[in-house]
């Protein structure tokens, strides 16, 4: 599993490297990422995917609250939960903006016992609220040499407004065993 992500990231890195030699401009990088598409580019998904909370509903029987760090989706989340900051499990609080890039966790859903890819997007442009729930879990987290699995960094880094506000956990893929 990690190897697959690793390869994807390497591929990404090679393409961006080539691009970087042409331009060091952030907008340039952003469009390079957008062309490759996918998980690292949260905002690129937004116009394409319809909003769907069916998974949230399906797992409503889950004993662990979505505002608890023990909730299954948060297996590699280093940050403050957006649903304790004015947002929801998958939405940023009003007045903040979605991070353009994100890191990925692979978490097991206790309901169906399957592994899901979770995109941990930061919400940006504000300071954290006071009193939000801070989580610090690191399952399959890796140092920055596997950047897409790394959470010791501000994932608002690619936004114009880089202040860290909170983190959402968005299901973006499923791992078939």
């Amino acid at each position: 599993m990690l190897k697959i992500i690793e390869k994807l990231l390497q591929s990404l890195d090679k393409r961006t490297e080539a691009r970087m030699r042409r331009t060091a401009d952030i907008a340039g990088r952003r469009s390079a990422l957008a062309k490759i598409g996918g998980v690292l580019v949260g905002s690129a998904l937004m116009p394409i995917l319809p909003f769907d909370r069916s998974l949230g509903v399906a797992f409503a029987g889950d004993a662990v609250a979505e505002t608890s760090c023990d909730y299954w989706r948060y297996c590699a989340l280093d940050g403050t939960l957006c649903n304790t900051s004015g947002g929801t499990l998958t939405s940023c609080p009003a007045g903040s903006e979605a991070s353009k890039v994100s890191w990925i966790g692979t978490c097991k859903n206790p309901t169906d016992n399957k592994d899901y890819l979770v995109s941990y997007n930061d919400c940006c442009g504000k300071a954290e609220v006071n009193g939000g729930t801070f989580c610090f879990t690191n399952k399959a987290e890796r140092p920055g040499y596997l950047m897409g699995l790394h959470n010791d960094i501000n994932w608002c880094m690619a936004n114009e407004n880089k202040g860290y506000h909170c983190t959402v956990a968005v299901l973006v893929g499923m791992v078939d065993a």
Binding site: M1, I4, L8, I36, G37, G38, V39, G42, S43, L45, M46, I48, L49, P50, F51, D52, R53, S54, L55, T84, S85, G86, G87, T88, T90, S91, C92, P93, A94, G95, S96, E97, A98, D112, K114, D115, L117, S119, N121, C123, G125, K126, A127, V129, N130, G131, G132, G163, V168, V170, L171, V172, G173, M174, V175, D176, A177
Partner: protein, 382 residues
């Protein structure tokens, strides 16, 4: 392991995938951004920082859950329009945060979306003061913002919100705090000589001669808290010693209307203390004051151990409610008041239900912790 989601990384437009598990389709979720805060009345708690972002945390007065925040610069001050739909902050953004040239900025926010609508650069001499409601106020018609300056010599910057720029600076020597008049381009300020002085200006920024009241209080023996409130047409101040001053600023020369000692005849050496020491409920003409016992010179910032409900009509203490610690008060204006306290010592916001049929006793109903290291003031919607 095979990664069903692998297509997802590369395939744009092909986002519905099927897992091997049952026949349930996997639909990737979409990240969104809330465009509005959750509906319902808000409490605004100002957590000021001197070396980073000051925050105004916005909470539901219903369940005290967090709706979001406004993030501003150092030394943040805050105020709201009368309809509570627009918020203003002043704060500073020095070049290197704790050093270098200071840029002072007035920011205008839409409360419903918690977004910055605009910025207006103001004079960098803005008072670098702890939170006080009297540091930032709006004019009667909300066209002007009044910003307290201190260098330490005091003045007030008048910001024309229509034009989006500073109109004029008003010298207010020896006076501090801004108390906007109910009408006109006018505000008053509390002065160390015991007077209230009124300042008037024209749309073009021409200043009239300030008008000083007779001596109203004695800054040495019965100093007033800055935290003055509007009660009907008058201004209310309390002294450190527990004298309530009712002042009129309706005519040209401000003047004292009334003064009484609400601590008189009550044992225990009680006195008001904190920052936002009073809150006023106009529906019942009842004033709430944060009180601490065993008062002495220097105890005027002690957090309250009780909140006293005082009838302005008959000048009596109606009820003394025990509280956990209250640096500042806020109260809703309607018939069934909800009282809020913040305690800067432990960062707690507490809500109390006030019962008008029980002499305005305040009963604890909820609290939330971790409102910040410097959670000084609270404003509440009805």
């Amino acid at each position: 392991m095979r990664l069903t989601g692998a297509l997802f990384f590369f395939g744009i437009g092909l986002f519905t995938m099927y897992s091997g598990y049952a026949a349930e389709p996997f639909v990737p979720e979409r990240m969104t951004v809330e465009t509005k805060i959750r509906p319902g009345p808000n409490a605004f708690v100002l957590d000021q920082s001197w070396n980073g972002v000051s925050r105004i945390n916005v909470l539901s007065t219903g369940d005290l859950s967090t709706k979001g925040n406004l993030s501003v610069g150092l030394l943040g001050e805050f105020t709201l329009t009368k309809d509570h739909k627009t918020a203003y902050t002043t704060s500073v953004y020095p070049k290197r945060i704790i050093s270098g040239p200071t840029e002072a900025v007035l920011q205008e926010f839409d409360v419903e979306s918690l977004t910055v609508k605009r910025e207006i650069i103001i004079l960098p001499k803005m008072a670098q003061a702890s939170p006080q409601i009297t540091m930032l106020q709006l004019s009667a018609n909300e066209r002007y913002a009044y910003v307290q300056n201190a260098t330490p010599a005091t003045s007030v910057t008048i910001v024309d919100l229509k034009a989006g720029k500073v109109l004029v600076e008003v010298p207010t020597p020896g006076c501090y705090g801004i108390y906007p008049a109910l009408q006109g381009n006018r505000f008053s300020s509390l002065c160390g000589d015991g007077s209230l002085t009124t300042y008037t200006f024209s749309e073009k920024g021409v200043l009239a001669n300030p008008i000083k009241s007779a001596k109203i209080f004695d800054a040495e023996t019965d100093p007033l808290f800055m935290h003055g409130l509007r009660a009907e047409k008058d201004l209310l101040f309390t002294s450190f010693n527990g004298n309530l001053y009712r002042v009129s600023d309706a005519t040209d020369t401000p003047h004292l209307l009334d003064k009484f000692a609400y601590t008189e005849g009550i044992e225990g050496g009680w006195a008001p203390g904190g920052v936002g020491v009073m809150a006023y409920n106009p529906a019942h003409k009842v004033l709430f004051v944060s009180m601490h016992p065993d008062a002495e010179e220097g105890s005027h910032k002690n957090a309250g151990k009780e909140v006293w409900a005082i009838s302005l009509a008959n000048k009596k203490v109606l009820y003394r409610s025990v509280v956990e610690g209250a640096t500042s008060l806020g109260v809703t204006t309607g018939d069934k008041p909800m009282l809020f306290t913040v305690d800067v010592d432990n960062g707690v916001l507490t809500r109390y239900e006030v019962d008008p049929d029980a002499k305005f006793a305040a009963k604890f109903s909820a609290k939330v912790e971790s409102m910040g290291k410097y959670a000084y003031l609270v404003w509440v919607d009805d």
